[in-house]
Amino acid sequence: MANEVQPLNLHTKSWSVKIILAIFSILMLILVVGPLVWLAVHAFATEWKFPSYKPTGLTLEWFRKVFEVQALKEAMKSSFIISPIVVLVSAVICLPAAYASARYNYWGRRTFLIMMFSANAFPKIGLFATIATLYYFLNLMGTIVGVIIVQVLGTIIYMTWIPAAAFASVPKNLEEAARDAGASKFRVFRTITLRMAMPGILVAMVMSFIYAFDEAQGTFLVGAPNIYTMPTAMYAIVETYPIQVTAVFSILLTIPSVLLIGLARKHIIGGQLAEGFQIK
């Protein structure tokens, strides 16, 4: 038959197509993994300069250096203190809003959800500069509270939208069935709604953590020179230390994100999200 549709099948593709696909895959790989490899090598290299294609030697000296400098240790400490607090504060503020938006059709609900984007819709530097003026007035400049507020601002979008979708995807009759079984409203929320929305909430928490952990602009503007987190300490490192220290610090900065994504992935793909909320 003339009009028969040929199924797209990579196994029967001609050699030329296969080669082009392979080239693009390798280019993609270089683009994604290349910088990471470059970072990793630098972190352990005594020296690696153009046009040499390999470092002169390997060392752990740069790791020792990072953990030696008091300012960098301080920055790491504040990062690991501030980021979890930001996630918690954001969750406490946003999860009720997310639940309300998913379950109640209050007046202006749509507008409220769209407005969540406003903090991310404009160039952040303008927002932060304005906030800085406000902070001077409120004496929040250079304080932990100030930094937390600035970081929470950026996480709101994740903590509202993703959990709202997660709450909305819990079928109402599953909650009704629990009420019917004798559970109080709070118990229904705790054992059914929250439990079933948990994968979505975890994703939101991971994304918020990564955002907060990585936030530099606002944190620098309102935190410096009293408070440095890992990303803002980076500014100083780039200026004062050899490039290998920057590489080490970058790797340290990536570890929590990679770990969290790995954990969340296992939990989400292996959990009930994978089972697909199979309710007809």
């Binding site: 009759n173 019917d180 079984a181 004798g182 109080s184 009930q272 309710i279």
Partner: protein, 300 residues
């Protein structure tokens, strides 16, 4: 027997307006203890709304709901002595079959050993012991339905509410499950209200049927009565098929008149055109239906 006169469920003057529309209009219903009653009607007739008011998910605008002698009109579903089986079963996907069935007992703070025993008993009754550690997504629709039933029965409710419990099952399974439900209901003697739009289901499963139309009960009687002595043309039409004549009926004959006469297809006999009361007709269509044929006639 005293049970025959005891009232399991009483609805008095029930009314409900939803979205500006009168859904239930001054409805009365009395279900005896141990009785199985169907609420039958087309979609939008208010049968599900009625069930939701009995379960406690909706509070009536007017009237009272009495369950097992206790006025429950305004109290929440968690405090009512009723248990409901939802149309799509509403099993919790993150819990195993065992945990789904144990949930109502856990909420009531029953001790662990007793939970274990009662869940095992009820899973035995619905024949699902082999699936107790499965997740709802791993078992078939018919099995999910039985889990939902077990979750309701484990509460030992005074009244069991079934919301279109068979509509998600395929035809063959539907007949089997409805017989199982009926058998179980009789054995446990549990007062049951079942919502359905399927006349076969209602006729075969119920002690009495309440045929509903636009928020009111059109007729409330036994399946035999509903079929053989329908109170209104609506009921006669809704249950079974009907040949409709405009005219009067007397002495086995239909003559011209202003009334409406209904004749069940199975009561039509074939005879010569000269016999008394005969209507001359030609066959327009014959549909084989297995153990019987459906014959469409056109009167001359």
């Amino acid at each position: 027997m005293s049970q025959q006169n005891e009232i399991g469920l009483e609805l008095k003057g029930l009314s409900k307006v939803l979205g500006g529309r009168v859904i239930i209009d001054n409805l009365d219903l009395q279900v005896k203890k141990g009785e199985m009653v169907s609420l039958l009607g087309p979609s939008g007739c208010g049968k599900t709304t009625t069930l939701r008011m009995i379960a406690g998910f909706l509070i009536p605008d007017n009237g009272t709901v009495t369950l097992a002698g206790k006025d429950v009109t305004t109290i929440g579903p968690e405090k009512r002595p009723s248990a409901m089986v939802f149309q799509n079963y509403a099993l919790w996907p993150h819990m195993t079959v065992f945990k789904n069935v144990a949930y109502p007992l856990k909420v009531r703070k029953v001790n662990k050993a007793e939970i274990e025993k009662r869940v095992h008993d009820v899973l035995g009754v619905v024949n699902l012991m082999h699936h107790k550690d499965s997740r709802p997504a791993q078992i078939s629709g018919g099995e999910q339905q039985r889990v939902a039933l077990a979750r309701a029965l484990v509460q030992e409710p005074d009244i069991l509410l079934l919301d279109e419990p068979l509509s998600n099952l395929d035809a063959k399974l539907r007949v089997k499950v409805r017989e199982d439900i009926r058998d179980l209901q009789r054995r446990l003697g549990i007062t049951t209200v079942i919502v359905t739009h399927d006349q076969d289901e209602a006729l075969s499963i119920s002690d009495r049927i309440a045929v509903m139309k636009e928020g009111k009960i059109e007729q409330f009687s036994t399946p035999e009565d509903i079929y053989n002595k329908p109170a209104t043309e609506y009921v006669a039409n809704f249950i079974g098929s009907l040949n409709r004549y405009e005219g009067s009926y007397s002495n086995g004959q239909i003559s011209t008149g202003s009334d409406v006469v209904g004749v069940r297809p199975e009561d039509v006999t074939f005879d010569s055109k000269n016999s008394a009361g005969a209507v001359e007709a030609t066959v327009s269509l014959v549909v084989p239906r297995g153990h019987f044929h459906e014959v469409y006639l056109k009167a001359q």
